[in-house]
Amino acid sequence: MALGGVQGRGPRVFLPFRLAWRQLRHEKSRLAAAISGVVFACLLIFMQLGFMTALFESAVQVQKSLHADLFLMHSTTEALWRSTPFPRARLAQALAVPEVERVAPIYVQNVVWRNPKTSLKRTLLLFGVDPTSGVVGFPGLTADGLAAITKPDVILFDARAKPEFGAVSSWLAEGPVVSELGNRRVEVAGLFEIGATFGSEGNALTSEANFWRFVPNHTPAQVNVGAIMLRAGADATAAQAALRHILPDDVMVLTKPELIAFEKTYWANTAPVGFIFGLGVVIGLIVGCVIVYQILFSDISRHIGEYATLKAMGYTNGYLVRVVMGEALILAVLGYVPGWILGLGLYELASARIFIPLTMTVEKSIGVFALIFGMCVVSGLLAIRKLKDANPADMF
């Protein structure tokens, strides 16, 4: 009588649901098997989505730590690591908009770094900025570090770069680290923390002047990202519209959230990353669907005489459909709750052990519930075809 309190309201829905629940709970072990199937699907989906969002978040680490109100990029740029430079004159033109206080160019280029111990050469993403502009707020950056890169041939290194680049952070604790960057002698003066993303295995930061030394074919006139700082109290949307109006359409004007969304969209759609994780989610759904369908189908098969009896007693096919769908939805809810709790546990575990920050958000919780719910509905719809076999005339 667990659901007894709701009686009276909508008996057309409530009574078949109660019958479904009574049927499910009557065989505890089968119910447990069905629920564990849903839990499994739930966990699989939570993990796929968790890793996907975590990797998307890591992919926009750089964008998130840029401090500016608006950004300019070449209109053919698809992603930061392979951005097309635009003429620096666009930044000067932007100054004509009254809301714009100042502008700062950011130069980005893939450059070959030599591991000083193994001599192995690997490509990292080098950022060139004016260290006094305050545009770059990479985590772990220090004022000393920013001061150091004004000296010639000095860079700051990504402490969370792939280990193949060398244990730069631990070497740095023992003394100066000297190696080659873009076939030029380089000294590492400090660290920051971004980590590998989809587009780069490691990152380095230096001043504009040093950037042009390491990347000689990249002229100061070729800007990859233009940072625009607005006056205090200025309306960013109005400024964005004004900039779009005066600037030629070889550049696009993005707010910071748009810049982040732009990069995520690239990885989700253009690159196969989104597809791979999406496939994982689909596989989870199919597995769950098959399990729930099997349970419902065999339930109907085993109770076919009882369903036929109900039909003989004057219950409509629609009523029995509601019973089966009720079972499906009860399984969805009963499987989702432990699935969510276990998912949260696995997220905590992953965050603590493998340093991939998986976060349980309201959106993700609702989204996964919707998927599980849909999965159970599909299973139920497939299974109710079996109800046709319940022919009351065969009961005699």
């Binding site: 007894g4 009686q7 009276g8 008996p11 057309r12 009574l15 009574r22 049927q23 009557h26 065989e27 109770h303 005489g305 009882e306 009896t309 109900l310 039909k311 003989a312 007693m313 004057g314 219950y315 409509t316 009351p392 005339a393 009961m395 005699f396």
Partner: protein, 227 residues
């Protein structure tokens, strides 16, 4: 008024050349409040006749008026409506295994959900008392004996005050004494509540409960078509 009035009822299984006729132009009426036994050898068509009267099969030819509703040419909704006014008792009790005795009986009342849950359960308990197993109201069918299960089935078939009770070999799964006891019970309740009962059986030991015995053979009624 007659509870059942059949004329020229013909039924065949299969189509075209291979069609196998099972009922040949039957005429039969059952008066309200009558207890009628339908006997005959296996394959004589008596179960088919029962399923036609119960609205479980579409009428092919002839007329079959049950509780004032013509079933010839009736759609599924009409047949479902008739079924709700009929109480069925099956050969193998056909109780729902996942429901207790009182919940099983209450299922006969849930079908149109007009009564409150409390009234449904009160009626179910009263019916179980009437069939003499009020103390088993909260037992599951698996824990009941064959006779007790058939008593629950009788209680279920009577609970919604049906105009007609149809029973198919209700004693087949019971020993002679239990079978006779349960049929006597059914007859007594039917008479008390003025219910019409139509029982298909080839159990000669229960002939004494009937007001009238109708005999069938090869799809024809050979005896007792009219009282």
């Amino acid at each position: 008024m007659d509870a059942v009035r059949i004329s020229g009822l013909t039924h065949r299984f299969g189509d075209g050349e291979t069609a196998k006729p099972v009922l040949h132009g039957l005429d039969l009426s059952v008066a309200a409040g009558e207890v009628v036994l339908l006997t005959g050898p296996s394959g004589s068509g008596k179960t088919t006749l029962l399923t036609l009267i119960g609205g479980l099969r579409a009428v092919q030819e002839g007329s079959c008026v049950v509780l004032g509703t013509e079933l010839a040419g009736a759609d599924e909704a009409t047949r479902v409506a008739v079924r709700r006014r009929v109480g069925f008792i099956f050969q193998h009790h056909n109780l729902l295994g996942f429901l207790t005795a009182r919940q099983n009986v209450a299922m006969a009342l849930e079908v149109d959900a007009r009564l409150s849950e409390a009234k449904r359960l009160a009626r179910a308990d009263a019916m179980l008392d009437a069939v003499g197993i009020g103390d088993k109201a909260r037992a599951y069918p698996a824990t009941l004996s064959g006779g007790q299960r058939q008593r629950v089935a009788i209680a279920r078939s009577l609970a919604h005050e049906p105009g007609l009770i149809l029973a198919d070999e209700p004693t087949a799964a019971l020993d002679a004494r239990t079978g006779h006891e349960t049929m006597e019970l059914l007859q007594r309740l039917a008479k008390e509540q003025h219910r019409t009962v139509f029982i298909v059986t080839h159990d000669p030991r229960i002939h004494d409960i009937a007001d009238r015995i109708v005999a069938m053979e090869d799809g024809h009624i050979i005896e007792g078509a009219h009282a």
